[in-house]
């Protein structure tokens, strides 16, 4: 007879198999990573360029990225898009602070063709004036919508205060669109796309010849190797509230500059961060959503760049509970700094994190993403074995120490908009 009150026995995860992609060199210091033997016909190629928002200005980075397929001397943007459609390919371009990543998706039998079309479009891009005007109009309209949202306003503000006086603090404002000249985009493209490739990730069952052809063609985008900025951040904590009279909710962002994977405290800190706010059963969720009902969601996150990271708590709450919410966040941090995490909770989080890592390593696409997460910091895949070991061993005392050492309330910037 089934006794429903007794939970099934659990089997812990002891180890996970991590695999690395094959590595080739496109040019000195510019690798191509290839994951093949895929069980299905999907494939993708990811080109990473040193063309992020910090290299010059966000407006140039963003518009150049948006106009990569805007036409060449011999082909219009429409013709190029039709050619990509004819092989069933999709592409997207994302721009972060340090990189612009162009991804092409196609069935493996068409990837090489799609890449050739893309390669030609990118190398010969001429940025027609008409296309520049069109994208400026479209982006400006979208920005207007974005700037009405409290979460967007709070996010921009905290970025400005955390990274003040460095290129990482730059955001696009409405006025920027009027200042852009076509020639600036051409120069940006020349410097950071035609000479700015940093690495390539390839997934898919292609023939070795196809892979080598792609590798050779990628050399056209290689130039000098860039070193990311080494910025000094002030570390000053700011408390800012912006009133938005028509808002129904208040967006809150609480954060500070932090380290990335290269720091010896990283793994212990991220276990502490999970307990605090990085899973559905976290303390912030249990208290502020599931007990008080102040919000639809609240979380805390670790973000990583090449030379640093940052920590952030984010939520949108009912307008009248802004202060109560900030107080509860403070209480939760203090609790982590003064009390030991109960064994049951710590064990739960350990199992949860290992289960999530197992999932994050499931399948070739996921595995390549994991690899990319360590490659960025010049580390190798053995990091994840250290991670498993550290998660298994960590004690409640270490969790408390992490909270005390890195999350002093007075060191945190607090932004609210609404």
């Amino acid at each position: 007879m089934l006794n429903r009150q007794v939970a099934p026995k659990l089997t812990p995860i002891k180890s996970i198999d991590f695999s690395v992609p094959e590595t080739y060199e496109i040019h000195a210091g510019i690798p191509l990573y290839w994951k093949n033997n895929i069980a299905n016909e999907t494939s993708k190629i990811e080109l990473h360029f040193n063309a992020g928002t910090t290299i010059e200005t966000p407006i140039l980075a963003s518009l150049t990225a948006g106009l990569l397929i805007s036409g060449t001397k011999t082909k219009s943007a429409i013709q190029i898009h039709h050619a990509l459609d004819a092989v069933g390919a999709y592409y997207d371009v994302s721009v972060s602070q340090e990189q612009a990543v162009v991804t092409l998706y196609a069935l493996n039998s068409y990837l090489k063709q799609a890449f050739d079309i893309f390669h030609e479009a990118l190398t010969a891009a001429i940025f027609p004036e008409k296309e520049v005007q069109e994208i400026c109009n479209e982006r400006q309209e979208k920005l207007k919508v974005q700037l009405q949202k409290v979460n967007v306003l709070a996010q921009r503000k905290i970025q400005q205060v955390l990274f003040e006086e460095t290129p990482y603090s730059q955001v696009i404002s409405q006025g920027d669109y009027a200042t852009v000249k076509r020639t600036d985009l051409i120069t940006f493209h020349q410097k950071y796309y035609l000479n700015g490739l940093s690495k390539v990730f390839l997934v898919g069952d292609l023939s070795k010849e196809e892979m080598l052809d792609i590798k050779t063609a990628c050399a056209d985008f290689a130039g000098k190797v860039f070193n990311p900025l080494n910025c000094k951040f002030s570390g000053k904590a700011h408390i800012v509230h912006q009133e938005k009279s028509d808002a129904l909710q208040t967006a809150i962002r609480i954060g500070k500059i932090m380290f990335n994977k290269t720091h010896p405290d990283f793994i212990a800190f991220s276990v502490m961060n999970t307990i605090l706010g990085d899973y559905f059963g976290s303390r912030l969720m249990s208290n502020i959503r599931e007990d008080k009902g102040y919000t639809y969601g609240i979380g805390s996150y670790m973000m990583e760049n090449t030379n640093f990271g940052y920590f952030m708590i984010a939520t949108e709450v009912a307008k009248e509970v802004r202060e109560a919410t900030i107080q509860e966040v403070k209480n939760e941090l203090e609790r982590l700094q003064t009390e030991l995490v109960p064994t049951e909770e710590l064990e739960l989080v350990k199992s949860y994190l290992l289960g999530q890592l197992l999932k994050a390593a499931d399948g070739p696409y996921a595995m390549l993403d994991l690899f990319s997460g360590v490659e960025l910091h010049g580390m190798d895949i053995s990091f994840y074995n250290k991670y498993i070991q550290k998660v298994q061993e960590i004690t409640a005392e270490e969790i408390r120490e992490m909270a005390c050492k890195h999350l002093d309330w007075k060191s945190l910037s607090i932004i609210s908009v609404g």
Partner: protein, 414 residues
Amino acid sequence: MIHFERFKLENGLTVLFHKEASTPMAVVNLLYDVGARDESEEKTGFAHLFEHLMFGGSVNIPDFDGPLQAAGGESNAFTSNDITNYYDVLPAHNLDTALWLESDRMLSLAFTDKSLEVQRNVVIEEFKQRYLNQPYGDVWLELRPLAYTKHPYKWATIGKEIKHIEDAKMSDVKAFFKKHYHPSNCILCVIGNFELDYVKERVNHFFGSIPKAKKSARILPLEPAQDRFKSKTLVRNVPADAFYYAFKMPERKHPGYYFADLLSDIMGREKVSKMYVDLIKKQKLVSEINAYITGSMDEGLFIITGKLNEGKSFAELDKEIWKILAHYKTTLISKKELEQIKIKLRTARAFQDQGLLNRAMNLSFFELLGDANGINEEQEIYQSIHADDLRTFANQLFAKKNGVLLKVKKKKNA
């Protein structure tokens, strides 16, 4: 081709199993055949509020998420106008944990007052965050009642108004559970590296003793045939004038559903579609434009939406939109364009099928439509569509009296 096995428990629970040997994870997906269309007009938003309560503890297990997280897993759910879908993703060796948790909440909930009170507040904040505190956020709250007069699609999943959620009572919650949450109203799908016999045995072990209940017949008010074009204007604090044309399209099981889907792909193609080229590139009338379908079980909506450029009028736009619709009614889509869209569909589908969770949700959904094997037949349907099918269909779809228009006008001095 996605291979699957199907079996039924004596209490009426339908189970699908898809073996995937390459993964260390398992997916457990439960599709309950209940959505916002099953609510009464005075108590809307209930199916979705109920989904939140499903995480508030069940009859024998006080906390749903904790044990799942301790097993290394994760869970979530969504509610639509048609269905409520719950899923768990966890390491395969802990499959039992997901089956134990899901079977207990199918058996009965804890029904605590605290859970109801808190989730009411959480859902009210969700209502504000997603529908009221965003520019254009309330469009679907307005568009639905414009397009539907009788059918329950006239309200959004989140509910008609916050008051309905505030007023939800425990007795309503219990009645809703009794009516909709039982084995014969659910499709369970398991994916992982298991053998069929093992899955049968484990599912039976946890779900077999849940009492059988009768699946209630769904009798929804029929939407009367629309007899005239309708439009409505909202004035809002938004940065640009926006438009939403909505045309009634066939229900999910009708062949016309596939025509509508393909036509929306063709008309909404970024950068190259006729709408994009004519209205954005040539005439500079709009800053963005798109076409898509709602994809609902009953008669759905084919949407054409976008934003006007500063200084352009709704009247100018209207003229151009009808010109474009007339084009699709009279001109055959070229063979080349049709081939392009079909190969794009194939690519998109191959990437979707990569994900275990996607496979589980799709199998369950097709089973609800009548046969999970529909997942393997759908591509063939799309590939067999001809240009003249689409032209004929466009003539029915884009009849003027079949449409509505919602305009969101920018408030002066906003």
